[in-house]
């Protein structure tokens, strides 16, 4: 099995523009951003959530708290994998009770990560509301999960992989569509 790059889905500039637009949408649909907090899912949801908070601050002067969630312990496939995945820290230094949470991730695919994230958040308290924001929705859901805020929707086949590469983690900035070929 080899992985080949098929095409670029978003450039650095397009990622930035998309996040600006989504940041506005979040504020518009959050009644003045009162009690609003962003939760970035490790790994690439984290820089995305931080960037969204930064742009919300730029145009509203509101400081939206940002937390980091690691979903490893909540995965539903742990009993089928051999080596247990490494657990990372969850870093949410505010109470989630009665907060208006927006969970941020890079790609929405099967929906299983989001199910795990919601379980993780409920272990920390009882949020008032949880919504989901993703940079890319690529379809192929296996659970009834939909995002409230979507950067881009794209059609993919299930052998394809959407790779979001972010400066903070990957030292480059773009979204690629790659394919696994036998």
């Amino acid at each position: 099995m080899r992985v080949v790059e098929k095409r670029q889905l978003l450039s650095a500039q397009e990622i930035d523009r998309t996040l600006q637009r989504v940041a506005h949408e979040i504020v518009e649909k959050s009644a003045g951003a009162k009690d609003l907090a962003l939760i970035g899912i490790r790994r690439r949801g984290v820089p995305l959530a931080q960037r969204l908070a930064k742009s919300i601050r730029a145009f509203t002067q509101i400081d939206v708290p940002v937390g980091t969630l690691d979903i490893t312990l909540y995965r539903d496939d742990l009993s089928t994998v051999g080596a247990q995945p490494v657990v990372q820290s969850t870093d949410i230094d505010f109470a989630v009770d009665n907060q208006d949470l927006v969970v941020v991730d890079d790609v929405l695919y099967t929906g299983r990560t989001i199910r795990a994230a919601m379980n993780g958040l409920f272990d920390l308290g009882r949020p008032k509301r949880i919504r989901l924001c993703v940079l890319i929705d690529r379809g192929h859901r296996e659970l009834p999960v939909e995002a409230t805020f979507i950067g881009n929707t794209i059609q993919t086949s299930d052998t394809e992989i959407v790779e979001v590469r972010l400066q903070e983690i990957d030292n480059e900035e773009r979204v690629m569509l790659v394919d696994r070929v036998p």
Partner: protein, 317 residues
């Protein structure tokens, strides 16, 4: 590349990389202890056998709580339970437990080497919860985690261990573990409990006859429990031990100002340690207990989680 770890039998056979891996993996579980809801479903459907052939309260409760918080079930075998009194052999007992299909077994036994003996004969991961005077690896890992949290690193620290080193599996596991990180270790206690042979356990070990010399420059002071059953006249009287080896507030001043005072528990106040020191600002006694949960959760997650035996195992990646 991290070496796979199937069993946890002792710290002697762990590599620095494996130790660092498990200390790092304990961090998210330390944070988990502060969650309002302390219940995961991560190991749901897994069963951990707790086979305590020797009495234990704190270690058994810690393992049982760690398993429960990960969502695993436990089956309990306690020293006072009947089958052991009826003369069943160790091997028959663990085969009986194995027949109930646990996914891992935690063993405490008064014979050194019992966990290894069992590990060779069972097809499931074995975790040593203390064997004779050999090792108590989870205690050493939780101690190392506590030290690292306070000092930032293990590298190059000065550690002083006080008490009955010879009979202490806690001391042995700590010496093996910390010795791998270049910790300079000073052993101090009555001479019959600190024989010269102990210097071979790790590089950089020295023995000291006077507690005042042993405490000089210490970053960490580890006080062991004096097993009162080992104190008897005329070999050694309690008042003599107190006079020569008790860690008092006055003596602690000889150590470095921010030196940690550690004790694996249970504490005998007024014997090996003065109450004021056990409760003092430098004491990490209760923090060690909390860290024990985190370390044991990390170990259970990696050793017992995942696909059943036969598939490549934890901490290999």
């Amino acid at each position: 590349m991290l070496q796979p770890l199937r069993h946890l039998l002792g710290t002697e056979e762990l590599t620095r990389e494996q130790i660092t891996f498990f200390l790092d993996q304990s961090k998210p579980f330390q944070e988990f202890q502060r969650h309002p809801l302390k219940k995961l479903a991560t190991l749901r459907g897994k069963t951990v056998a707790l086979a305590f052939f020797e009495n234990s309260t704190r270690t058994r409760i810690s393992f049982a709580t760690a398993a429960a918080r990960l969502g695993a079930d436990t089956m309990n075998l306690q020293a006072e339970s009947s089958s052991l009194k009826k003369g069943e052999s160790l091997l028959d007992t663990v085969h009986t437990l194995e027949a109930m299909r646990p996914d891992g077994i935690v063993i405490r036994h008064s014979s050194s080497g019992a966990p290894e003996f069992v590990a060779r004969r069972l097809g499931i991961p074995v975790l040593n919860a203390g064997d004779g005077t050999h090792e108590h690896p989870t205690q050493a890992l939780l101690d190392a985690l506590t030290i690292r949290d306070h000092k930032g690193t293990l590298e190059g620290l000065n550690l002083t261990i006080l008490g009955d080193i010879l009979h202490s599996r806690v001391a042995r596991s700590n010496i093996h573990l910390l010795g791998k990180f270049g910790v300079r270790i000073t052993l101090c206690g009555p001479s019959m409990w600190v024989p010269r042979e102990l210097e071979c356990l790790a590089p950089n070990i020295r023995r000291s006859r006077r507690i005042e010399d042993a405490l000089e420059g210490a970053d960490v002071v580890m006080v062991l429990r004096v097993q009162t059953e080992r104190l008897h006249e005329p070999a050694l009287a309690a008042d003599e031990y107190i006079r020569n080896f008790q860690l008092t507030a006055e003596r602690l001043k000889i150590a470095r100002p921010a030196a940690l005072v550690m004790h694996p528990g249970p504490i005998v106040r007024g014997l090996e340690i003065e109450s004021a020191v056990a409760d003092g600002p430098q004491s990490t006694v209760l923090e060690q207990v909390t860290n024990g949960l985190a370390v044991r959760m990390a170990l259970l997650y990696h050793l017992i989680g995942g696909a059943p035996a036969g598939t490549p195992h934890p901490a290999e990646g």
